[in-house]
């Protein structure tokens, strides 16, 4: 736990070292505790927080939670519709199999759920081997068919016969981390440039503000499209992933820089800053030890609010085919299959990755909103 600097009028009620304690007969709480108390009152934000944790857990345990790997497919079951899980109390879980009829003209198979077939499925079944966290080799999956060869498409199949559920779960990892990495980069840029701009002011400030305004006035998406179309085709998935995060950060840092600058401007003349300077602290120490910690909560709030924007941006880019590409799986990549109405009318479940995007973005927005309200716990 770090000691947190507070506004001048409340410093007296804080005791360093203890989370809550008593001082001069008064109960005191540290700033983070106050933030948490305030955050807890925001019901939507709490719902968002739970959802967010859930989604990141899915991303962490993707291999275990998904019934199949990302590249597993069965070309006999293209566009197979979703199956319903049935519960038989005597024998366990099962789904019905499919019967397919081939269209005479187009040779496209259409599937019917066949009530007479039963495919036993189970929890913690043996399936494909994988390495959990890239370290622990394992072959158990949370859910899957007892006989690995049997078709199980709980959320339907895509045009190659991939299991959509598995790919959705695997896609969570890329989609949810790309925002984090992008934000981390944007944050570093934003803190440095915003800090310099707000602390020094004057001409430096003007120049940096011009740059920020420049970046804000360009329509982002054409710029992104240009930048990501410029990525060489022979680049591997990791390079592409990294390049996309950089592109996202290039656009995203401006908001961060504005927040940081605004805070610095308002804090510059506060008494505790003056006294720190009079105590002989150097510039870096004043900035990083005294000023920065006093608005960390604001920073966290604006970081949380900018992650969803990055997730949306990645989804749009990948949807257009300019972002990540197969074999990397992200929600945007999955949505590429849902490009036109004809496909959607035969396989509406292909829109499900979009629902995942909406849920994730909503959750993060709620959390960010709650944090923003709670960031200044002294405000009534």
């Amino acid at each position: 736990m770090t000691t947190v600097l507070l506004d001048a009028d409340t410093t007296s009620s804080v005791e360093a070292g203890a989370e809550t304690g008593t001082k001069n007969g008064r109960r005191t709480a540290k700033q983070w505790r106050l933030v948490w108390w305030k955050f807890r009152q925001h019901k939507l934000a709490m719902v968002g927080l739970v959802l967010m944790f859930g989604i990141y857990l899915v991303a962490l345990f993707a291999e275990f939670l998904a019934p199949f790997g990302t590249s597993t497919f069965n070309s006999e079951y293209t566009y197979a519709p979703p199956q319903r899980i049935h519960v038989d109390w005597g024998e366990g879980l099962y789904v019905h199999g499919y019967t397919s009829t081939i269209d005479e003209e187009t040779f496209e198979p259409t599937f019917e759920v066949d009530e007479s077939q039963r495919i036993e499925i189970g929890l913690f079944v043996k399936g494909e081997e994988y390495e959990l966290f890239g370290l622990i080799p394992w072959d158990r999956h949370l859910i899957g068919p007892e006989d690995p060869g049997q078709p199980m498409y709980l959320l339907g199949a895509d045009r190659n016969g991939h299991d959509l559920l598995s790919r959705l779960i695997h896609g969570t990892r890329i989609s949810m981390t790309i925002g984090l990495v992008g934000v981390a980069m944007a944050l570093v840029l934003g803190i440095i440039l915003g800090g310099v701009s707000g602390y020094f002011g004057g001409r430096t400030d003007t120049v940096i503000q011009r740059i920020v305004e420049f970046f804000m006035s360009i329509p982002g998406i054409p710029l992104w499209m240009g930048l990501s179309a410029a990525l060489p085709h022979e680049w591997g998935p990791m390079q592409r992933y990294f390049a996309i995060t950089v592109i996202l950060a290039v656009i995203g840092w401006t908001d961060m820089a504005r927040v940081v600058r605004g805070r610095f401007l308002s804090l510059r003349n506060e008494e505790f800053v003056t006294s720190a300077r009079l105590d002989g602290s150097g510039r870096p120490r004043v900035i990083y030890r005294h000023m920065l910690p006093s608005f960390t909560s604001h920073l966290i709030a604006s970081v949380t609010l900018s992650i969803p924007a990055m997730i949306l941006a990645e989804t749009s880019l990948s949807f257009l085919g300019l972002g990540l590409q197969d074999p990397v799986v992200s929600w945007g990549v999955l949505l590429q299959d849902a490009q036109n109405v004809r496909v959607l009318s035969t396989a509406p479940w292909l829109m499900l990755p979009g629902v995942a995007v909406i849920v994730a973005v909503l959750a993060l927005n709620f959390v960010g909103d709650g944090l923003r309200d709670a960031a200044d716990p002294y405000k009534r």
């Binding site: 420049f214 179309a229 009318s345 995007v357």
Partner: protein, 313 residues
Amino acid sequence: MLTYIGRRCLYMVPTLFAISVVAFAIIQLPPGDFLTSWVTRMESEGEKVDPAMLEGLRERYALGDPFYVQYGKWISGILFHGDFGESFEFGRSVTSLVLDRLPWSIGLTVFALIFTWVVAFPIGLYSAVRQYSIGDYLATTIGFLGLAIPNFMLALAMMYIAYRVFGLSTSGISPLTIGIAIVVLGTAGTAGTIRILRANLLDELKKPYVVAARARGVSERALVVKYPVRMALNPFVSTIGWVLPGLVGGEVIVAQVLNLPTTGPLLFSALRTQDMYLAGSIILIISVLTVIGTLLSDILLAWLDPRVRLGYR
């Protein structure tokens, strides 16, 4: 006022210059150029390309020159002759290609902006005056949803509904498609605009003059409409500044999904085929129009609000 406008216009010059450099740099980034990708495409189709002809083309488009020479040619052509160069892919001048499509883009953007305002104004007004009512919560929820749904998802969903429920096809120019595009684009900015209006109006409603007017028995309706709304409207004008870049960008994606004849799909295909003058010019034109739109909104704001005007002295 004139000083203000003059100053803002002067500030625009370096921005525009930077935009033109960025736009040109982007199209230079990919390895190879249009001719190399054109040759590979031709060869994959089994056609032989005459090296002499290739050399001639290279010469004509000045593709061998260093970056700054190419940029110089391009930008001086635009500045002095209004000539944006020639599209390799279409074999037509960029100007005529873009002129075909630009009116659609501008029209869509303007209507989407109007849609945003028409929807956001009454909702923002209502949720400020009736703070914490059911309607207020409803508006906030819808606003959050609008922020969370990617533009193209909304477009896809509406297309799907139109197709499945009403049996209508949505592709290319039709009143339905354009309507969908406007609604989809408009909703994206609505959430933010509602929030701003609500916050401004709430601030204004707490001010002493409102309390004083209420104490003297001014009717609630006149009280709200006469001053606070007018005050809260000023920042409304400046929303153009941040709604516009988003709208223009969103338009690129939505038009791609709905297959509308705007600059979006043209830019998209130009980027794919490395049709550099076309792609660069579209990015440049879109960005410049956005900057001008922002400038207009700033001037409008300064005209409406003397505080802004004086602050710039």
